[in-house]
């Protein structure tokens, strides 16, 4: 099993994702340069946070044209696991691997804080080790995390159980999504993370790789990363 962490010019959470997978989970991990056309040998890809290509034009708009993204798209279409965190989520939206678009936060300010997320479904390789309804605490840090899509797309996301994480209260109770304390960036339907129909591509604004050691404030990010490891292990056992 091997993870690949893509490095775009301007990625700045690449080292953190590498540290989380390599040093905390103890799994093999490799950095993938944005110009590389191959990602062979990797079983899961992480598109890390940051400001790929300076977020020029729009977040993710230039990164999606990187050679590595053609390889990531092929990998995803073949069923490979792809996790896009923060800027990585934005890139997945621009590349069309996930539906919808990202707007600037409703307050038009950068937001860095701990948030609570409710796991809406455990039926994905990214949440399989969670309990349904489990509340995860992890930080957000972004300027453009206000997820938006049109009504038919939202209905489709709901219908196909593609909404994986929503912003919630500390106790997991229902919140008013127009309240900036509860839904900090103003995302439609409180969406913090979605997957594709095939369920092998997850985009999320919060940072699981920053919530992996007790000393950093939370270990709940491990739920996401460990689910990926377990899914890959089951997959390799099944195919062996």
């Amino acid at each position: 099993m091997k993870f690949g962490v893509v490095v775009f010019p301007g990625s700045n959470c690449d080292d953190d994702a590498y540290h989380a997978v390599g040093s905390v989970l103890g799994q093999p991990v490799e950095l993938l340069w944005h110009k590389s056309e191959q990602i062979s040998g990797c079983d899961a890809i992480i598109l890390p946070g940051g400001f790929a290509f300076g977020d020029y034009l729009r977040t993710g708009a230039l990164a999606r044209f990187s050679p590595v993204m053609q390889a990531v798209e092929r990998f995803a279409r073949r069923g490979g696991l792809v996790l896009g965190i923060c800027n990585g989520f934005q890139i997945l939206l621009e590349s069309g691997l996930l539906p919808g678009a990202m707007l600037r936060n409703q307050g038009l300010r950068f937001l860095c804080r701990q948030v609570h997320l409710r796991v809406e479904t455990t039926d994905t390789p990214f949440t399989s080790s969670a309990r349904e309804g489990q509340v995860l605490k992890m930080p957000i840090a972004h300027m453009a995390g206000n997820y938006f899509c049109d009504a038919p797309t939202l209905a489709e996301l709901e219908e196909n159980d593609q909404i994986i994480l929503r912003y919630t209260a500390a106790d997991g109770g229902t919140v008013d999504y127009s309240d900036p304390d509860a839904n900090p960036n103003g995302s439609i339907a409180g969406i913090a993370g979605i997957c594709n129909r095939e369920r092998n591509v997850l985009g999320m604004m919060p940072h699981p790789e920053r919530a992996i050691e007790a000393g950093l404030g939370s270990v709940d990010g491990l739920v996401i990363l460990n689910s990926m490891v377990q899914s890959l292990m089951q997959h390799s056992t099944a195919s062996a």
Partner: protein, 765 residues
């Protein structure tokens, strides 16, 4: 070849460059001829106050710079301290005050960018930034110095722009902004202070220095192209006071691109790893001029460059403009001849310009060519080291502010809840969460104590068990009343904050913000402050490893309160033991540690409370004197805190400072999960003084009740009184004095006042 001379330099042209007739004569003497316009430009920026330290140099020599941890003191791009495991901390603080007034967003952003380059030019990866900020009032306040509505509106715009600028640059670059402090005072209306401290980590055997080496080695320009921005930023903008036309200086402010800086960081560190880079310096203030002449001068070599080869953003830029441009995100490096391809390859990988523009020479001269024309030829030492040094006249101000002003009259009341609530709503005391929440304070996943969570920011060092703690502090109001004592307090508080987090203070950096040095009263403030810092740093064993002086902080002839900011670095042997300020557990004991040996007299209490934040907010007074300070007592408290942290006896620690004991106790509850203090302490002082005095050498800790006796034992060894004054509860916040209620209130409602004050101040009315 002789130097090209197109026009005669008139005395007016020299004066327009900020050079005095004596300085111009000195230039003529050094050259043995008249300078041409490019040479005049080179001298003017390098001999500006900002670059040459001509007014401060004679005083800075008195600062202690040696210590057992110090690897590199002042004189390089940043200070370097050994932190064990073969690693070094590289850190420095710098001001960007004037640009931030003229253009708050870009001024603050490029302030962050500039200090980051100072760190990674030494081979260190930046891991933390702290910002020490001062703004004019953003709400109407009482008192003589109160700001008018127009000032308040402008202060809010500056405040918002500066925060956005810092957020923009630091977040995109990928360095966590982990702390600092923000103070609002009318002294800083129309002259905000933006002091940025950056910290990086490097292996001790992989440090880089800015010293040219080896005749014939290539001089390589890397990074962004050169444009016309920032010309005379260091001289005409940073080294002069402001008047009504200051907005016209906007073209002197540089424009930053944090994405470019991030690429430059990665490319520089990668190029350094090839082993082919011999020396490197960033092009900050005075751009290509300072980087080339300083590297040549430090290395005892010469440098020859050809401007035609410098990457340029537009056509028709003159040699004068290229030499003086302060375009951001550029570096100059010297590579080993024969291995330049290895270096160039790295920059190409990162999509950055990298061009050989010249070479190292033996003749110790800076020689500037342009398409075969000799544009400048000056001894490198003359520019970098032989600038004028002034012993400016010094005069103690006749009327010391506060000296004759009335002192606070203690109230006979016993209940101070309403005053306390107003104090919590003062933007200087209130929560800075609205500010920190706009900074990415967690990127790089090292932040052990988040901004606002403790007295010092704490970042762990991956691959070791250690962490580093940092605090910046400074009190302009106290320095206005007594610059020597006020400056000593800045050192003491920064050291105390670092110790509260459990870290041993080991070194310091400073940023000295003052008015016009040509005024004898300002130089008196400066001299006093330096002597105060020197004494406190010596006693507390935190040598100064670098820093920056910012003079001319005056607008329309009115100077800011003298504001020396101290940044103290500490080492924590066990990152897991890092302490925050928040209470942890219902039922824990609250212990007041006090190293003060002699109780203050009634008159002393009156003087010290008159200079407090409480007196300013509640009574509109800024008089009296800063609290007296005993450095030996401060040191005892630091050592006591460290001993307690080593044994893991404290659950939280928070020093007594702005707002006094009442605010300290309240804050430890505000940042916890719904806990509050209930205390009762005996006092012989008037209640107002006991609650709100800002006297130092004190800290409040919380601890398991069964640890209290051991805490008392340890404290006694350090001659520190440890008094159990109450307990942590889930109930209301209460302070009783001699059994009598002094402050009580719902902790949640007090917390809201404190938490929302700044955001409310900015809400459109």
């Amino acid at each position: 070849m002789s130097v090209t001379q197109t026009t005669q330099i008139s005395p007016e042209v020299a004066a327009d460059h900020g050079l005095t007739p004596e300085e111009y004569a000195r230039i003529q003497k050094i050259l043995g001829r008249d300078p041409n316009i490019t040479e005049l430009g080179i001298f003017s920026v390098m001999w500006s106050e900002h670059c040459s330290y001509k007014s401060s140099r004679v005083h800075l020599r008195r600062l202690p710079t040696q210590g057992k941890h110090v690897v590199q003191g002042p004189g390089e791009n940043a200070g370097v301290v050994d932190i064990g495991d073969g690693l070094c901390a590289v850190f420095k603080m710098e001001s960007h005050n004037h640009p931030s007034f003229v253009e708050p967003f870009q001024g603050a952003a490029t302030g962050v960018g500039g200090i980051l380059r100072d760190i990674f030019t030494m081979g260190a990866r930046p891991i933390a930034v702290l910002d020490s900020l001062r703004f004019g009032p953003i709400v109407a306040e009482a008192g003589a110095g109160a700001a008018n509505a127009e000032d308040i509106a402008q202060n809010r715009r500056i405040f918002d722009g500066v925060i956005r600028g810092i957020s923009h640059y630091g977040n995109c670059f990928g360095v966590p902004t982990v702390g600092g402090e923000v103070v609002f005072d009318s002294s800083y209306s129309r002259n905000p202070l933006v002091n940025v401290l950056a910290l990086g980590i490097a292996r001790r055997d992989e440090l880089f220095f800015a010293k040219a080496r080896g005749v014939g080695n290539p001089v390589i320009y890397v990074g962004a192209k050169t444009g016309r921005d920032g010309i005379h930023g260091a001289s005409l903008l940073a080294s002069a006071e402001f008047n009504e036309q200051s907005q016209e200086k906007r073209p002197n402010v540089q424009v930053g691109d944090p994405f470019m800086e991030k690429l430059l960081l990665e490319a520089c560190l990668e190029a350094m790893r090839t082993g082919a880079v011999l020396a490197i310096q960033d092009m900050g203030a005075a751009g290509l001029t300072s980087s080339s002449s300083e590297m040549a001068s430090r290395g005892g070599m010469g440098i020859e460059i050809d401007l035609a080869r410098v990457p340029q953003r537009e056509t028709g830029i003159t040699p004068y403009e290229i030499m003086l441009s302060e375009s951001q995100e550029r570096m100059l490096l010297i590579a080993e001849r024969g291995r330049e391809a290895e270096v160039l390859q790295v920059f190409e990988k990162w999509g950055l310009d990298a061009v050989e523009i010249g070479q190292v020479t033996a003749d110790k001269k800076l020689r500037v060519l342009n398409r075969g024309v000799l544009e400048a030829e000056i001894a490198a030492d003359a520019i970098a080291e032989q600038g004028p040094v002034y012993e400016r006249p010094i005069a103690e101000p006749k009327a010391r502010r506060g000296g004759e002003l009335p002192l606070i009259e203690f109230s006979a009341r016993s209940i101070f809840t309403e005053n306390f609530r107003r104090l919590l709503a003062s933007p200087t005391i209130a929560s800075k969460e609205w500010i920190f929440g706009q900074y990415d304070y967690q990127v790089r996943t090292n932040t052990r104590v988040v901004p606002g969570g403790g007295d010092a920011a704490v970042v762990r060092i991956k691959g070791t068990r250690r962490a580093l703690a940092l605090s910046t502090d400074g009190n302009g109001r106290w320095c206005q009343l007594n610059p020597r004592l006020g400056a000593m307090h800045a050192v003491a508080e920064a050291a105390r904050n670092v110790a509260c987090s459990g870290a041993q203070p080991v070194a310091a950096t400073n940023c000295l913000n003052f008015g016009n040095p040509e005024k004898p009263e300002v130089m008196w403030q400066f001299r006093e402050a330096i002597d105060g810092i020197a004494e406190a740093c010596r006693e507390l064993e935190v040598p100064i490893t670098g820093g920056n002086v910012s003079f001319y902080n005056e607008t329309l002839g009115r100077a800011i309160a003298p504001t020396p900011i101290l940044g103290v670095l500490g080492i924590l042997e066990d990152a897991e033991r890092a302490l925050g300020m928040g209470f942890q557990q219902d039922g824990d004991a609250i212990v007041l540690l006090d190293a003060g040996q002699n109780p203050a007299t009634a008159e002393e209490l009156q003087r010290e409370l008159s200079s407090s934040e409480y007196a300013k907010v509640i009574h509109g007074m800024e008089s009296g004197q800063p609290p007296r300070l005993n450095l030996a007592e401060e040191k005892s408290l630091v050592n006591c805190l460290l001993a307690l942290a080593r044994e893991g006896l404290a659950a939280s620690a928070h020093d007594v400072s702005d707002g006094g004991l009442a605010v300290t106790l309240a804050e430890s509850g505000f940042v916890s999960e719904g806990l509050a203090a209930q205390v009762d302490l005996p006092t012989g002082a008037p209640f107002e003084a006991e609650l709100f005095s800002e006297r130092g050498a004190r800290a409040v800790i919380s601890a398991r009740p069964d640890f209290v006796s051991r805490i008392a034992e340890i404290a006694a060894q350090y001659a520190v009184r440890a008094e159990r004054i109450g307990r942590v509860t889930q109930g209301e916040f209460r302070i009783q004095l001699n059994g009598q209620m002094a402050i009580r209130g719902s902790s949640e409602s007090l917390r809201r006042v404190w938490k929302e004050a700044i955001q409310q101040a900015l809400q459109p009315e």
